[in-house]
Amino acid sequence: MKQSKRDDIIQGQMRPGAITRDGMLGVDRRTLRDILDADDAAVRRLGLTHATIAARLRELRAAGARGLGEPIRVDSDLEIRVDSVCGKLPCPFGHPGLYPKEFVEVSNLRTGERVTFTQLNIHLIGTHGFYEGLDSPFRQDPETLARVLGITA
């Protein structure tokens, strides 16, 4: 799809210093529309949807929250720690409300791999199909998420 004027404005919100100091695009020079399209294609190749991925992230976040800030074993292979730091962030797509700076750290004890996502990531994936730009500190690569978190169609 072609990048619209609105996409330009949203992309502006994702630049370093607008909402977060590092921004949400990392070194990515592509347009927002190209980033969204590429990740959408990757998710379809996995036989998944953004909604399924967001639902699994939400489920893991809820399970990890039972650890009350300390790591807790979830399923047979995953260890999850959910904690928050000071602050809240708005959605760059202009939705009202603020998302707490809460992070969910998931370690796959079988493979040794680890992913960290936030409440904002869950919203961005589920509502906008946005996984952040390449090398953004909070980029969520769909294939990595599917592999580490055991998300299947």
Binding site: R21, D83, G87, P90, F103
Partner: protein, 366 residues
């Protein structure tokens, strides 16, 4: 009919054009004439117009807490503006209760000084100063918590009360191109004014914690300001219950060190939650305080001890352990510190045990 539509269209276009022009003028033509800020009706400072109130006050050495560098994303920089602020901004409303909005509370990083202002700030903020310090020691308390000792250089001493926090400045480095501030509770006894200890837990990709854990070295200079906050022991004589996890240890440790030094006789229990033995720290020091304060008991609880830990102490989530030990909390007072998830869950347990809401004090690190 079509003439009417055309006229309405033209009017709308003119209106939109004028509004845009006004916005542009406001953005481009900043009135930098000096403005006065009257603080608590006792002190008047003069600042150049057009700057955010938070920054203007900082230039005059009046420090308002702020953890996001004025981005409107921490909500810490509240002040009451009695006169002279413009309308409430959309960036402020999510942080302010209806009550606060009614009484003129504003985010000082969002309010621009465009007119003379009258504001009110907590008196204790007048005592906040900026300090230059040097990293005296840096050690690992656990795999993700570092203890940092900062020796104060200029001014050489800080006065604070046990439970208060300071803000440390992170200089520009790989993760930030401008200085940012973050809050950390002082973990040391206020009787040592020439150096303070902090306990800092690593946050994945966090700007300040990555700096402290991966870049900071002994001998480095650090700028900090403080002290801030009202967390600290109330002088009531009630039985005390402390609950913490992770770096939530910091302010509780400061309170306990002071209690031990002053031989505070109040009955007191400290529940500390961790996953396994490797996540526990300062246990020996807590055991030493037990010998110094006969009415104090330290109760560490592990949620998932390793088999190698050979742990014979309390197990389970901190909420379960508190639930088992505390039978009637109606006459007690509680101080909680750490993850908001832990704090919220423990408050619920304490309420179930009969503790009145007004006897529960907490410092959420979020």
């Amino acid at each position: 009919m079509s003439d009417l539509l055309l006229a309405v269209g033209i009017l709308c276009a003119i209106n939109t054009g004028l509004a845009l022009l006004l916005m542009l003028a406001e953005a481009v033509i900043v009135d930098t004439r000096d403005r006065s800020i009257t603080i608590n009706d006792t002190q008047i400072v003069t600042v150049p117009g057009g700057r955010p109130l938070l920054a203007a006050l900082k230039d005059r050495k009046i420090f308002i807490p702020s953890a996001c560098g004025g981005r409107g994303s921490c909500g810490l920089c509240k002040v009451t503006v009695i006169e002279g602020a413009g309308p409430l901004l959309a960036t402020e409303t999510p942080w302010l209760t209806a009550e606060e909005q009614k009484s003129g509370v504003r985010l000082s990083c969002q309010v621009k000084v465009r007119r003379d202002l009258r504001i009110r700030i907590p008196e204790e903020l007048f005592a906040v100063k900026q300090y230059q310090a040097e990293v005296a020691t840096l050690s690992d308390l656990t795999h993700d918590i570092k203890q940092v000792t900062l020796k104060l250089l200029d001014p050489p001493e800080i006065t604070f009360t046990a439970g208060q926090f300071v803000q440390i400045e992170v200089p520009p480095y790989a993760l930030t191109d401008e200085p940012i501030y973050r809050a950390y509770s002082v973990a040391s006894d206020p009787c040592q004014p020439s150096q303070i200890e902090l306990e800092i837990r690593y946050v994945p990709n966090g700007i300040c914690t990555t700096y402290v854990h991966k870049h900071l070295k002994v001998g480095d200079r650090v700028t900090l300001n403080g002290p801030y906050g009202t967390f600290g022991l109330r002088p009531t004589g009630r039985e005390l219950i402390f609950i913490a996890g992770g770096s939530g240890m910091a302010p509780i440790r400061a309170i306990l060190l002071e209690m031990a030094r002053t031989q505070n006789p109040r009955p007191c229990r400290y529940f500390f939650g961790a996953r396994a033995k490797r996540d526990l720290f300062l246990v020996e020091e807590m055991r030493r305080i037990e010998t110094e304060l006969p009415s104090f008991r330290f109760i560490p609880a592990l949620s998932a001890p390793d088999p190698d830990d050979r742990w014979e102490g309390e197990t389970g989530l901190i909420t379960e352990v508190v639930g088992r030990h505390v039978t009637n909390a109606a006459q007690a007072e509680a101080y909680l510190c750490g993850s908001p998830l832990m704090i919220d869950a423990c408050i619920q347990v304490l309420r179930e045990k009969g503790m009145p809401e007004e006897n529960i004090f907490y410092d959420k690190f979020a």
